[in-house]
Amino acid sequence: MSVRRLVGESLVPAATLAAALLAWEAATWAFRIPRFVMPPPSAIFAEAWDWRYRFIGHAWVTLYETLGGFALSIAVGVPLAVLIVYSPALRNALYPLIVLAQSVPKIAIAPVLLLVLGHGEIPKVIVAFLVAFFPVVVDTATGLAATPPELLDLSRSYRASALKTFMKVRLPMAMPFFFAGAKVAITLAVIGAVVGEFVGSDKGLGYVILSATSYWKTELAFSSMILLSLMAIVLFGAVSLVERLVCPWLVQEAGE
């Protein structure tokens, strides 16, 4: 990486962020903004440091609710996409239902789900799944349908079985689309898990935010939010990394 790119891609955004934090810090002191309205960054970081051990437990709960919902969205979404692409009858039967499920606001479903499924982590996993699965289904189905018809003709002219054509042509062809959906899904799964925790829980970062605000501990709420964002960024990065390992042909060469 050239010096110019290093400055452009890393230093400039870092400097912008640092400047914004400094301005924020200065504003809270200069205008004497009460802490519970808008805490300065220094107070937020101090609070996060105080909470570091307690945060581990809460972050862990939110993390596995998120990952559970994400895993479920793939386990359900990919087979659904295959069914939709291979069977016109199933497509007609399932697609309206999937779109309907998507158009119901998940935040509205969450209280009902928790009522039905009770407390604990499973209902949050389900909410995370419901929020996350749509892009997986739609993008994977788009990818599976994106195989050029000539390639399907080619496979057929060689008398290859449908399964072989699926494994060697259609599935790898759909991979970049699948990952596009998975990257959206992982960020949505975080939102789903937090929404689930908002509705009713005694663990997780969503619960910490909710209880912190009811006790006017705004700096705790802020530090939980930052932790949640970091978690979402790391998860997104992890999916991108897997994408690069699975689809190395998509990687652009440096300098291209």
Partner: protein, 254 residues
């Protein structure tokens, strides 16, 4: 080798209309003959290739290859399309091996031949590259290698050079002739280009559109090996005038 007798293909569109893509096509192709099909868009040339490959059944007439009626895909063909349609996740070498893999043969046993084919088409040194690292002409060469690797007796080419720029296109035509001299095959070659059709062919099948019919089958008696200079040959000119007249005269009638 290929016998098409009074072949017709009618299909139903999604809206339920019947479309006659091909009608009453009779064509007998000899073993190792190079036949080009030329005509405007919509004259069913591509449909004809699919019929010969057994990818779609004829609604009228009979198609037979070496006396065997064609009812389903039979594996002994190589297909080259207008787009190279390579697999972007496979290296050049693995793309060439794709055909034998899909035929259910052992790719390991074809490695040497695949490398030979890449050398024959001037792609030595590119074996480990991804298709996106290659130019359009080079990608189409890989597609041709892929089609040739299982050594099919029949090569079906659907406007294989149609997406290439004019210079690459001429180069590829001559290269195809060179490959064909070395590895004789029966070739059915669809094109929009009249000079290309004449340059390559033993016989040119001129087709007219909607429904696709054979207007005339023109033997090309030009000597081989052929070069670009032939375009200035009087016989080449006469043949291309005849083809042009067949295609455009019909158009004016309508």
């Amino acid at each position: 080798m290929i016998r098409l007798d009074a072949v017709g293909k009618t299909y139903r569109t999604r809206r339920g209309d019947l479309v006659r893509a091909v009608e009453d096509v009779t064509l007998h192709v000899e073993e190792n003959e190079f036949v080009t099909l030329v005509g405007p868009s919509g004259c069913g040339k591509s449909t004809l290739l699919k019929l010969v490959a057994g990818l779609t059944p004829a609604t009228h007439g009979t198609i037979a290859i070496r006396g065997q009626p064609v009812r389903e895909p039979f594996g002994d063909v190589g297909f080259v399309f207008q787009q190279p349609v390579l697999l972007p996740w496979r290296s050049v070498l693995d793309n060439v091996l794709f055909s034998v893999e899909m035929l259910g043969r052992q790719p390991r046993e074809y490695r040497k031949q695949a490398l030979d084919l890449l050398e024959l088409t001037g792609l030595s040194g590119f074996e480990t590259k991804y298709p996106r690292e290659l130019s359009g002409g080079m990608q189409q060469r890989v597609a041709i290698c892929r089609a040739l690797l299982p050594d099919p007796s029949l090569l079906l080419m659907d406007e294989p050079f149609g997406a290439l720029d004019a210079m690459t296109r001429e180069e590829m035509s001559l290269e195809l002739l060179r490959i064909w001299e070395e590895r004789r095959k029966t070739i059915l070659f669809v094109t929009h280009s009249i000079p290309e059709a004449i340059l390559l062919a033993d016989r040119v099948v001129v087709m007219t559109p909607r429904p696709g019919r054979v207007a005339r089958i023109l033997p090309i008696a030009l000597p081989r090996p052929r070069t670009m200079d032939l375009e200035f040959d009087a016989r080449f000119k006469a043949a291309s005038d005849e083809v042009r007249e067949l295609i455009f005269a019909r158009r004016l009638d309508r």
